[in-house]
Subunit: 117 residues, 2 copies
DNA sequence: TTACTAATAAAGCAATCACTTAATTAAGGA
DNA sequence: TCCTTAATTAAGTGATTGCTTTATTAGTAA
């Protein structure tokens, strides 16, 4: 990932299970770096680097009190990502040939499921 | 991106402007490799490699007739990506502290806009 | 001051990424 | 057959990724 446009930064940030897990945690409420790192099987610097990626994508903010950093998720970049995906899902659904593909796939899937059962 | 789980593959595929442009084109209807490559400022092998990434993520399929490959977008992986994003946007919106952050951000934004006008 | 804790910075490493050019495969038309 | 077109494979390159260990910064407390 060399691209540095906002949408690329967001999708790249989401393209890692560890970072998605961190965001999952933060979507349920703010937490310190230590709290977020606890369930992760990696060193503290590794977590810090993941946080930097999330921050650069605008998905989290850090606020310092004493020697702790409180991490908060920011939803706006997620809105942008969602908007892109939804737009193209919608476009695809409008296409007649895509619809035909879809029906064929459903028929095939149905036949496959029957064959498997 | 070392991760190879389905969701990581999809997000990683979307984390590149060229690949998003290819998907944009295909969301409006199937096309050959040549048609998709035409507006892109890079060599044919480079396009071919991007297509491989999209295919590995399940976002496109290729069907051959003669020396042409017709590319079709597949929406299902996009559904998965959308589901993940929507789930976490929803979670975030439910949090009281996130809501407070949101209100504070809106107030700050409002004040900033006033200062700028 | 000294020690302890929370977190980041620095440096190094193997693997992957996004390209390139050159070579190859596969099909159609003269 | 020979030539052209469409596309992929192979090989090479510099930049980036996701970790590591070691060192450093910053704050609290004895």
């Amino acid at each position: 990932m060399t691209a540095s446009d906002p949408l690329s930064l967001v999708f790249a940030a989401l393209a890692d299970p560890t970072r998605r897990e961190i965001l999952s945690r933060l979507s349920r409420g703010s937490a310190t770096v230590g709290e977020v790192a606890a369930p992760l099987a990696m060193s503290a610097p590794a977590v810090s680097q993941h946080l930097k990626v999330l921050e650069r994508a605008g998905l989290i903010t850090r606020t310092a009190h004493a020697q702790w950093r409180t991490l908060s998720m920011q939803a706006e970049p997620l809105d942008q990502a969602s908007a892109w995906v939804e737009k193209h899902r919608r476009e695809w659904n409008l296409r007649l040939d895509a619809l035909e593909d879809h029906l064929r796939t459903m028929r095939t899937t149905h036949r496959t499921q029957e064959a498997e059962s």
